[in-house]
Structure formats: C-alpha cells, structure tokens
Symmetry: C2
Subunit: 235 residues, 2 copies
Amino acid sequence: MIYELYYWPEIQGRGEFVRLVLEDAGCEYVDVGREPDGDARLEAVLSGALPGALPFALPALRAGDLVVAQTAAITRFLGERHGLAPDTEAGRLGALTIALTIADLVAEVHDTHHPTSVDDYYEDQKAAAKARAAAFRRARLPKFLGYLERNLERNDGVLVGPAVSYADLAAFQVVEGLSYAFPRAMARLHGEIPKLLALRDRVAQRPRLLRYLTSPRRLPFNEQGIFRRYPELDG
Amino acid sequence: MIYELYYWPEIQGRGEFVRLVLEDAGCEYVDVGREPDGDARLEAVLSGALPGALPFALPALRAGDLVVAQTAAITRFLGERHGLAPDTEAGRLGALTIALTIADLVAEVHDTHHPTSVDDYYEDQKAAAKARAAAFRRARLPKFLGYLERNLERNDGVLVGPAVSYADLAAFQVVEGLSYAFPRAMARLHGEIPKLLALRDRVAQRPRLLRYLTSPRRLPFNEQGIFRRYPELDG
C-alpha cells in the first residue's frame, strides 16, 4: 500500500500532523503536492476527483479505494492501522477525543492571525489579531496545554493507552508549532507543563521521526503556515 | 445500555448533535445536565470524574466503561453502533469527514459572535463580531453549504452511503441553527442549496425525530447557545 497525501507543498500546516504519522509508522507514501504535477492534482482532489465524500479542505489521504479528509480523522485512520493507536475501544475513543481537541487548538492558533477573515491577508486584520492573540495567550493557550498536561498526569508518560499514539505525535507537533509562533508565551508556561515538554522530547527522539525531522522533507515553519512568528502577537 | 449525556441544560449547543442521534436511534439515555444534581455532575466530569481521556469541554458521553468527548466523535460512536452510519469502511470514513467539517462550520458560527475571546461577553466584542460575521456570510457560509450540497449531488439524497446517517442529522441541525441565526443570509442562499433543504425536511419528518422535535425535550434556540439571532450580524 502506497498512500497518497494531498497537501500544500510550501507549509507544514495541518498536513504535517499526517506526515508525522506516516513517517513514524514507516509508511510508503507520495506527498502529491510536491510532485511535478502536484498543484493540478491538489486542485482536482478539491474538485471531487477522488471517490467518496468530498474534502472541504486539505489534507486528504487516499489509501487505495479509501479516501479520508480532516486531519484528526486521517491520523486516526493511519494510527489504528499502523500501531500508533491503543488496541482497546476505550483507548481508541480517548485518542480520537484528544486528537480532535488538539485540532481545535490548531484552529484557534490559526485564528490568532486570521481573526476576521480567512480569505484576507494578516496585514488587513492586524488590530483584531492583536486582541485575539492576547486572549489566546491569556486564557486559551494555558487551558489547552493544561488539558494535555492533566491527561499525561492521569496516564503516565503518554496521553492515552500504554504507548505512543497519533495523539502524542499531534501533541509534539502543536508544542513545536507553538514554541515557534509564541516563544515568549510558551517560555512563561514551561513550569506548568513538564510532562508535556518531556513527551515532546521523547517523541522527537523516536528513530524514524528523528530521521524525518532532520531531513529536507521536514519543511521549516514559516509565515504562510498555521504557526506564524509575528512578535506583535506574542505579547 | 443506558447512555449518559453530559451537556449544559440551558442550550441546544453542540450537545444537540448528540441528542439527535440518541433520539433518532431510539436510545435510552440520561441527559445528566437536566437531573437535579446535574450541575455538580457536569463539573465533576470536566474535572476528571470519568475514566479515560479527559473531556476538554462538553458534550461528553458515557457508555458503560467507555467515555468519549468531542461532538463528531460521539455521534460517530453512536451512529456506528445504532444503524446511523454506513456499513462500509469507505462510507464510515466519509461520514466522519463530513461530520467533522460540519463541526468546523459550527465553530465558525460560534466565532461570529465571539471573534476575540470566548470568555468575554458578546457585548464586549460587537465591532469585531460585525466584521467577522460579514466575512462569514459573504464567503464561509456559502462555501460550507455549497460543500454539503455538492456531496448530496454526488450521493443522491443523503450525504454519504445508502441511507440517513449521523452526518445527515448534523446537516439538519446546522441548517436549522443557521436559519435561526442568519434568516436573511440563509434566505438569499436558498436557491443554491435545494438538495440540502430537501434533506433538512426529510430528516425533520423521521418519526422518532419528529416526536422529539415537537416535545419539551427539544429546547428552543436562544442567545446563550451557538446559533444566536443577533440581527446586526445578519447583514
């Protein structure tokens, strides 16, 4: 099985949550957006070229005849197939719950720089972004990271189940992204999230992920993605 | 199996997506928030009283030893157990993809009246809300509803699979909510979403749902919920 990942080639974005699972599981996959005809194929998928339910947005994943979109749904699908999810139904429900909560956090990060209109430039909504980012740093960021920390306290070392799952890979990615975008706000929170930072470090050392993260396949964060370093939004 | 739904008792909110599945499937359930000790039990659940992964927010559902939070994950769980999901893996992936996309739409509806801070009053962010709602009506609302319409065109009558699924119930609810909150914007779009409106009507006539919707258990929409009728946000 060679998976096809459909995502924008210039950014980590939401696609990176899928790439991490594919890489950690050692899956063979084509990152279609980086192929020579990538742009046209991404547009075709958004226009309905694949079977099944349409993707509203990318990422989307094709696995033979199966197609799935929505980041958390894709990572669940891959995680359950490739040993990156708990075996029990209780654990699987927990992993999906946490992955979806991280997806909500990612959406709120996006809204810090696009609080009014996703279709307009950041520069055209800077005042609103400053207000939204302040509320995010003050209330939402500590609440979401505290939520992950409390799950780690309850479950000893990983977020759910007995071993690293796709939920943990998502937690790694969101901590990396937040550390890039909000270095000052994150530094102030470090003392409150020791287990989450330890999980981040542990995930980063997984052999396949370490190879990926130090390879040219891992794009750098940038100001076209979701996690953007705008110092004026970091308080 | 008697399910326990944990959700705020004063609003439809995200909990309503779960109630619709429980009601349409004829499940026995306790709407815990409406019990005499409901408030304390909701707070206990948010503090970690149930086993498994913590819920970041409500709704949460308990099914014996199983606990799941996040609206789309709950409705998937119930839908797949009770005949409100496709039988095939392709169909199940499609239903989850669509239900998660509807959840994203619901989050954007919420942000029309809370564009800056979820923890502050609407009255304290009215100017930002007006700008966000304008962008929502202009670009996001037609895009999301057009997405649902195109899925109905591809799949003939229901969003995914051969019969009504939890994704269709979610589509019903979001059309109902949007029609309450944005009656003028929705009226302008009616000509472009005939299949979605037909689905809404069809779902509303399902016998168990019809009984529920006309019962006192169905709370009215109000301005404490997600779908709020603020005429100044409806253009």
